[in-house]
């Protein structure tokens, strides 16, 4: 894998990431995925690419695949608030309340704010769903 990282310099990867971003903006998700996958094969810890890939899957409704990416990101960046928040969102959409609550608990300890308040409200009212 190191030879890949040697072959594709940081500048190369930056150019390709930019291209992937442009494709995403045009809604060409499949092509962007190929580029993001390639970049992650070269540099598995690339936060931007993995987060972008996870976001693509969330947007496409493939939440389990997205959660896999968030899980991997958290192993690399355990204190990243944005990644935890997004994983919590994905858990909520999957209706995995126990996991969502665990992430929310972590987020509460680390920070507070609008985004977390929103997640908390979603979790707290969830038992009321059936009464809607």
């Amino acid at each position: 894998m190191n030879d890949l990282k040697d072959a594709w310099t940081a500048r190369d990867r930056s150019l390709v990431a930019e291209k992937a971003y442009l494709l995403l903006q045009q809604g060409r998700c499949q092509e962007a995925e190929i580029l993001l996958d390639g970049l992650l094969a070269i540099d598995p810890q690339n936060r931007y690419c993995r987060l972008a890939l996870a976001t693509v899957w969330v947007a496409q409704g493939d939440l389990r695949k997205a959660v896999e990416q968030f899980d991997r990101l958290i192993t690399f960046y355990p204190n990243d608030i944005e990644i935890r928040t997004r994983r919590c969102e994905a858990y909520l959409r999957l209706n995995w309340l126990r996991e969502a609550k665990a992430d929310l608990g972590w987020l509460k300890q680390v920070t507070g704010g609008e985004q977390i308040g929103r997640l908390q409200l979603l979790i707290e009212v969830d038992p009321l769903k059936s009464q809607e």
Binding site: L15, E18, K19, D37, T55
Partner: protein
């Protein structure tokens, strides 16, 4: 004398309100009518259904050193250099060699980029 306070064509918008009843309605019927008028669920009203995880939340990637300053010509040249270099490397390595999954993914990415290059030429 009657004064016209509004300009023709700039009349206040008609509110979509039910007609005023001749006899005063009971409080209960008013509450019922108002709750029927609520557009959608409480999640919509609180904007809780707007998940901040759409594609629009992906920002541009952090750019390497001088990338932002590049003009179109330099950028094209860099792309060409990149793809030529990678193509040479892949030719040297050869296609028959057993490739790891990572190498296959990188090769796929490279092929796609080559296609874009051909379309641009």
């Amino acid at each position: 004398m009657r004064v016209q306070y509004t300009l023709p064509g700039l009349q206040p918008r008609q509110l979509n309100q039910p007609e005023i009843e001749a006899t005063p309605a009971s409080f209960k019927s008013r509450v019922r009518r108002l709750s029927q008028a609520l557009p959608r669920g409480w999640k919509h009203l609180l904007h809780l259904d707007v998940t901040p995880t759409g594609l629009e939340f992906i920002g541009p990637p952090p750019s390497a050193d001088d990338m932002e300053m590049l003009d179109a010509e330099t950028r094209r040249r860099r792309w060409r250099e990149l793809l030529d270099r990678q193509t040479r490397l892949y030719e040297e390595r050869g296609a028959s060699e057993e490739e790891s999954e990572e190498h296959q993914m990188a090769r796929r990415m490279h092929s796609l980029l080559l296609n874009y290059q051909m379309l641009e030429d």
